[in-house]
């Protein structure tokens, strides 16, 4: 056996799990694809976001908060090991509103969630003036914001790089340019790649993003994932403008203001489109009028990996025990949980997180 675990997928989800297993002394091999693959990890917005997650699914809200709480330790360990700051900022984040009634409706929904969580769900409502005291760049049309103190942001690309770097430093192996086309189980698992190479491992974690839709059924999963396009713009580098991120604006470490994101059901089309760029720009200028003069230097689009209800899937295969499916559209927020807590679940250790709520069985009901 070449490895105890093979991780199919070298994005942020796959590498978080791989790093988490490798640092516990397990031998892990990651199979990664090509430069041109759909790579959600390369197009991520970079929020570590609790707000709005699991509004009607308390277990998801808890799991997200748990990961957000682990992020500081996770980033600090990765930062120390790689000598690179991940630019983590967790001082809270906003959802900005332009309509009083909508803000009231959202606040009422949070009250409901708070009740379901036994009162443990911290958030604050800021009126327009209070918001502008915190964020003077926010324009007069904003009526207020919901501030969630556990929200924050990081550089998703620095995270990906740190994982790629430190996983190797720990002795993990990454095979690049590999497309897994078949899996069988002579003794353990054997994966066959498009180039003919085979890789054997005791267990497999399928973290192939949208690739799970085709690979999943080979391993006995439903893997009901679909692409959802998100387009993002980024400005030229600007002086400090925003203290905290909002759900669709964040000033990145290099100074650019990142503007997101669309949610488009357009299949496997990851093009940027002018109409969406214009709408994103209009909303950004409405929120922060000073952005009007800023230049957009780049745009990009990536395909989110969406499940029917938007929640993650953590599932061991009934047909092939030892094969696990891990998929979500919040690979940055959940990276800390995937790295630090999922290994216990994979290894069926005592104290492993209860992930029954994220079984894909929920889609057969």
């Amino acid at each position: 056996m070449q490895a105890e675990y093979a991780i199919i997928g070298g994005g942020v989800v796959g590498l978080s799990v791989a790093w988490g297993l490798q640092r516990r002394g397990l031998r892990v091999v990651v199979l990664d694809g090509s430069d041109g693959d759909f790579r959600a990890s390369r197009g991520n917005f970079g929020l570590i976001w609790v707000q709005g997650k699991g509004m009607y699914a308390p277990r998801y809200a808890e799991w997200t908060r748990g990961s957000a709480a682990l992020w500081a330790a996770f980033a600090s360990e990765l930062g120390e090991c790689t000598g690179r700051d991940l630019w983590l900022r967790q001082d809270g984040g906003y959802e900005v509103f332009f309509d009083d009634a909508e803000m009231a409706r959202t606040a009422a929904a949070y009250e409901g969630l708070k009740a379901r969580l036994g009162g443990d769900y911290p958030y604050e409502i800021l009126g327009g003036n209070a918001l502008r005291r915190e964020e003077p760049a926010i324009g007069p049309r904003a009526v207020g914001a919901i501030l969630h103190g556990e929200d924050g942001h990081t550089s998703p690309l620095l995270l990906l790089r740190a994982l790629a770097d430190d996983f190797r430093r720990l002795g993990g192996r990454v095979l690049t340019g590999r497309q897994v086309i078949a899996v069988d189980r002579p003794d353990g698992f054997r994966m066959t790649c498009a180039d003919g190479e085979t890789v054997e491992a005791g267990k497999i974690v399928l973290a192939a993003g949208l690739g799970a839709a085709t690979l999943g059924p080979m391993l006995g999963f439903r893997a009901p994932v679909r692409p959802q396009r998100g387009q993002i713009l980024i400005t030229e580098k600007l002086p400090k403008l925003l203290r905290r991120p909002t759900v669709d604006l964040r000033q990145v470490e290099a100074g650019g203001v990142q503007i997101g994101a669309t949610n488009e059901e357009v299949g496997f089309d990851d093009h940027s489109t002018q109409p969406a760029m214009a709408r994103l720009a209009a909303r950004a200028v409405e929120t922060v009028p000073a952005l009007a003069k800023a230049q957009i230097v780049r745009s990009w689009a990536a395909l989110r990996v969406m499940t029917p209800d938007g929640l993650p899937i953590y599932q061991e295969s009934a047909a092939m025990p030892g094969a696990f499916l891990v998929t979500c559209h919040s690979g940055i927020t959940l990276a800390a949980a995937h790295a630090l807590r999922l290994p216990d679940w994979l290894e069926a250790k005592r104290g492993a997180p209860d992930l029954a709520a994220f079984s894909e069985d929920r889609f057969s009901r």
């Binding site: 070298g10 990664d32 090509s34 430069d35 041109g36 790579r39 390369r42 690309l157 990906l160 790089r161 790629a164 770097d165 190797r168 990454v174 690049t176 340019g177 713009l233 400005t235 030229e236 290099a254 503007i259 669309t262 949610n263 488009e264 059901e265 093009h271 940027s272 489109t273 002018q274 109409p275 969406a276 760029m277 214009a278 709408r279 994103l280 720009a281 209009a282 950004a284 200028v285 952005l291 009007a292 003069k293 800023a294 230049q295 957009i296 230097v297 780049r298 745009s299 990009w300 689009a301």
Partner: protein, 466 residues
Amino acid sequence: MAEFDLAIIGAGPAGMAAAVTADKAGLRVALLDEQPRPGGQIYRNVSQASADRVRVLGADYALGRGLTTALAESGVQHIHGAVVWAIEDGFRLSYTANGTAAQVSARRVLIATGALERPLPIPGWTLPGVMTAGAAQILLKGSGIVPRQAVLAGSGPLIYLVAAQMVRAGVPPLALVETQSTRDMIGALRHMPGALRGWRGLAKGLGLIRELRRAGVKRFTGADRLKVEGMDRAEALCFRAGGEDHRIACETVLLHHGVVPNTQVARSIGVSHRWSSAQQTFTPVLDAWGGTDRPGLFIAGDGAGISGAMVAEIAGRLAALKLAEEAGHLGISERDRRAAPLLRARARELAIRPFLDAAYPPYPGALRPDDDTLICRCEEVTAGEIRQTATLGCLGPNQAKSFTRAGMGPCQGRYCGLTVTAILSQTTGQSPDETGYYRIRPPLKPVTLAELAAMAETGATNPEGE
């Protein structure tokens, strides 16, 4: 949104010739160009140039007047000062002119965006006082400015032309430091029979070299280990040639080692490209008319592969004939009858190209820069950092970009793209085609949020599901 039968991007020789030809055939043509006046880089400002400037720039430059005059007399809608920043299926072009974003739609598009100078990353190339020879020529064409105390370094026919133009302007360069070697020239001799068919081009080149010799401009060939020295700005060019180390104190260093197709527009809409080992660059995959693998989308001029102004003009006419035929304005036999002399002329003009490509290869030191040399000037990324990404599993430039920020700046990777592909290809052992190129997206040139936002407000956009 204004609608046309044909939209052409770029008013250089290819774009102008295509526009005039298509207009004559009866197509409604829009010609979008960034400059205030037509001409492209090669004929920049030619319609306004004084007699003295034409004397300095030479007879080939004055040839452009035929095209600018024909364009002015045509029915082509020339949208000048228009920076095209997006092209989408349909086709829909988004551009900014006079601070306002606008769009045109056209059933067919010809990309005639020409060439870019091949970046020449050497130690010190980002210091103030260093620019490309092409940029120096643009200053000369546009404003009559000639850099003083300048050294020209690199390879290629343009170096001789710029040097001769500087001599004629009364400000000769201090020296020409050429990186091509005698061995390159000997290797190029096997292409001599072809080159002799294009003897006019060859004679022009020899004439320029004689002109420089008469003016007493010093030439070094086979130069290696190029390096610009200076603290806050360029103070000297250092190199090794003829077995000796040289240092030429100067105020300006003009670098050049050929031009490469500007493929940004074509790549942004998904046109296939292939590596050309003869030209050491990517070129779009085209048929004989300039048609791409996208129906209705054509490319003519240096953007199709470097062939110079005369070939560009011919290619523009050929593409326009095919486009006019596709649009139903020209019969196939008439198209072919008019294309035949153009195809013969193009073959004649292309005859010298293999010789030039072999005789003036890119400077090898810049294709494999030292680890410490900056290769992405926008984001200040070194060659060594790109090499390191290969050890972190990056097979291609898009992954390397994610890990280093190379290519994320305002130039959209125009100045580092080929270098990053080359470095990764050398490091991983994959071919340039396997390594690939940056994914190019809009905006092709920076656009302000206010310009974009105004398009949403005026309903220039279609509502889309969010």
